[in-house]
């Protein structure tokens, strides 16, 4: 294993019009590590992961993957590197079945255009079983008929199936009950044990202290802390989220745009 982090962002910035959503943020994730990404609403968590995923590419800054400089201009670039994101809205097409969703955009085909349904169905089923997802009746069910926890499982399985090296989970437990939260957190640990780099965004500090190895805290578009889980407390994290020291003091316009 190389010493270089799996993914490293150096000084990435992103502005939407007058709003500076990210300002020269450093971020890194190692193999086999669960990195929590926390911050208040509007701190730039979503912008950071959307930049890494290529959905809204960064305006400036450098990205290194496995120590090599890479450019991520679109979702395909990120997918090629093995970066997968499970968004809070899960990005599932309700009218397609589980198989259709898991292979969306990357369908297996014969002769380049005819869907190879049998092969996809088998792979989907194997992945679901590999993740111990047992509550699903059939991978041919349409997603519209699934429960919240099942949908989350489908979305995670979809990402895992692509032999991804880095998985980003956006609020994976936000809509789940106690038992299903437990299952997802177990899943997160299992993914890290498989030597993936896992980034988990959450507002739930209890969840984070249970699964994360390190914690990155964002505030007003800047990184204000990088903490080791074993050497910190929930109080310290909360303090960083609400009052972490900013390197760059936002100007009046910026502060106004952030809404205070």
């Amino acid at each position: 294993m190389s010493d270089a982090p799996l993914l490293e962002c150096k000084g990435v910035s992103k502005a939407f019009g007058a709003v500076q959503a990210l300002h020269r943020v450093d971020f890194e994730i190692r193999r086999g590590e669960v990195m929590a990404l926390v911050g208040d609403n509007g701190a730039g968590k979503s912008t950071l992961i959307k930049g890494i995923a290529g959905i809204h590419p960064f305006d400036e800054g450098e990205i290194y993957f496995d120590g090599e400089r890479v450019n991520i201009h679109g979702p395909r670039d990120a997918a090629k590197l093995g970066i997968e994101v499970v968004f809070q809205d899960l990005a599932l097409a309700d009218n397609l079945d589980v198989v259709g969703n898991m292979f969306l955009g990357r369908e297996r085909t014969r002769w380049g255009f005819v869907l190879d349904e049998s092969s996809m169905e088998n792979a989907a089923q194997e992945t679901m079983e590999g993740l111990s997802v047992t509550s699903l009746r059939s991978v041919r069910q349409t997603v519209a008929g699934l429960s919240g926890g099942q949908r989350q499982a489908v979305a995670v399985a979809k990402s895992v199936m692509w032999n991804s090296l880095e998985l980003i989970l956006d609020e994976p437990t936000a809509a789940l009950g106690v038992a299903q939260t437990r299952q997802v957190l177990d899943l997160v640990r299992r993914l890290a044990e498989k030597d993936l780099g896992v980034v988990i965004i959450s507002h739930n500090l209890h969840d984070i202290f249970e699964v994360a190895d390190r914690i990155t805290v964002l505030r007003l578009g800047q990184r204000v802390a990088l903490l080791e889980r074993s050497k910190t407390t929930q109080e310290e994290v909360v303090h960083a989220i609400t009052a972490g020291a900013l390197d760059h003091v936002p100007g009046m316009a910026d502060a106004g745009a952030d809404g205070g």
């Binding site: 395909r76 097409a93 969306l104 955009g105 255009f113 088998n122 699903l136």
Partner: protein, 428 residues
């Protein structure tokens, strides 16, 4: 190989895919029984996934009502008439199904078909310029496809809703039809004299060819269904129960051969029915079996998710509007061929409404993401047979519009209610 047994849960029994399986064994692979399949289907219906059920019920009602009210409705002559009458609407509705699947609308297809028909007719005029039929048709289809492309470019790149862009197209192309037809004639009507083009919707297969084509359809369907079932079984996946497969194949055979025999008692199977059949099979295949088709459904279901999955949503939308333009062109040519002429109102009247109504009545959702290509055919069959039946009864135009309107309303209500029932159960 997993032991054969109909009791297994579909989600749990997985045979190793790599294991080589002989055909004989494959046929004994786990499959649900007919009764299980039917009960699962009934469950889906109750959950609001109605499929083709409403349309089949509707067709039966129409057949009974008009059959009782008028003796001619089931006559051989009227049967072939029906096949001729529904061809143009079905063809164009196939294109509209694709547009509806991605959650858009195309209001211009009526007059776009008119433009295609008029341009073809003008190019065919003897000695002026007297183009061969294939060149005239080719240019007409290329033109209507290009119109679809142009409109889609504005919809995707400028972000203007398709409703408005194609509404503008509706006006523009109706004007173009009017200008072209009045420019070259004083009467406003241009006759088509090319025998091949006139033959498209006026020729019939000989009885023998009718049987051959019918046999081809049945054998082709049976082979494709059996091949699908066999490949699923050999991969250890659940497949349709064999008895049901047999029932479906026999059912199709009965309907097809009864149709051929009935048509042969009159003038024979119309050539245009074969053209429609080819279009139907081709576009059904594209929609349900290809990567492109999967993406069409995905964009209709969740455009943002599709974009994140790396699908080029704009390119797909453009392709879909080009399909609609192309199929509008085909429909326009069929219509012009049937009437043996084009006129100032070609592509106008209630054509557009019938086309969209056919797609919707057939079960294609206006909300996007749900529907099948074959629904274009079924919906066109409903619309055409209602109008045909009312013609036989000698009803006034006004009455016909009112009744057609209520049928459309009923179809949309079924769609909306079943969707509500689906989401009520889905997001429980």
């Amino acid at each position: 190989m997993t032991e054969s047994g109909g009791e297994m849960d579909p989600g749990l029994d997985v045979a190793p895919a790599s294991e080589p399986v002989a055909v004989q064994e494959a046929l004994e692979a786990p499959a649900e029984s007919l009764s299980e399949y039917l009960s699962r289907w009934w469950l889906k219906v109750r959950a609001g996934d109605l499929g083709s059920l409403p349309i089949v019920v509707g067709l039966v009602i129409i057949a009974v009502v008009f059959g009782v009210l008028n003796d001619n409705f089931f006559g051989e002559r009227n049967f072939t008439n029906l096949l001729l009458q529904m061809a143009a609407v079905s063809t164009m509705a196939i294109g509209i199904v694709f547009v509806l699947l991605i959650g858009e609308i195309d209001l211009s297809v009526g007059f776009v078909s008119g433009v295609g028909a008029v341009v073809m007719t003008l190019l065919l005029r003897p000695d002026d310029p007297g183009w061969p039929w294939w060149a005239a048709i080719g240019v007409a289809l290329a033109l209507t496809t290009l119109i679809g492309f142009g409109q889609a470019l504005i919809i995707t790149k400028a972000g203007v809703p398709s409703f408005v862009v194609t509404l503008a197209g509706y006006l523009i192309w109706s004007g173009v039809v009017l200008v072209l037809t009045t420019q070259f004639t004083t009467t406003g009507t241009i006759r088509i004299q090319d025998p091949t083009v006139v033959g498209i919707a006026n020729d019939f297969l000989s009885p023998l060819w009718g049987w051959i084509v019918g046999g081809f359809v049945v054998v082709g369907y049976a082979l494709s269904q059996l091949q699908t079932a066999r490949s699923r079984r050999s991969s250890g996946l659940i497949a349709k129960p064999l008895p049901l497969l047999g029932l479906q194949i026999v059912g199709l055979a009965v309907v097809t051969f009864a149709g051929v025999s009935y048509a042969n008692q009159d003038r024979g199977v119309p050539t245009v029915t074969v053209i429609l059949g080819v279009a139907l099979v081709f576009w059904s295949f594209v929609a349900s079996r290809t990567r492109f088709g999967r993406h069409v459904y995905a964009v209709g279901g969740n455009a943002e998710a599709s974009r994140r999955a790396g699908i080029s949503v704009d390119r797909l939308r453009i392709a879909v509007f080009m399909i609609a333009g192309f199929m509008a062109g085909v429909g326009g040519i069929v219509l012009a061929s049937r009437l043996r002429s084009v006129a100032t109102n070609t592509g106008g009247g209630s054509l557009l409404l019938n086309v969209i109504a056919a797609a919707v009545i057939g079960g294609t959702s206006l909300f996007g993401g749900s529907g099948r290509v074959v629904s274009a055919l079924l919906g066109a069959l409903v619309i055409t047979s209602i109008q045909n039946g009312m013609d036989l009864l000698g009803l006034a135009s006004g009455t016909k519009f009112v009744i057609t309107g209520f049928v459309l309303l009923g179809a949309v209500l079924v769609d909306a209610l079943s969707k509500r029932s689906r989401s009520a159960r889905g997001v429980a």
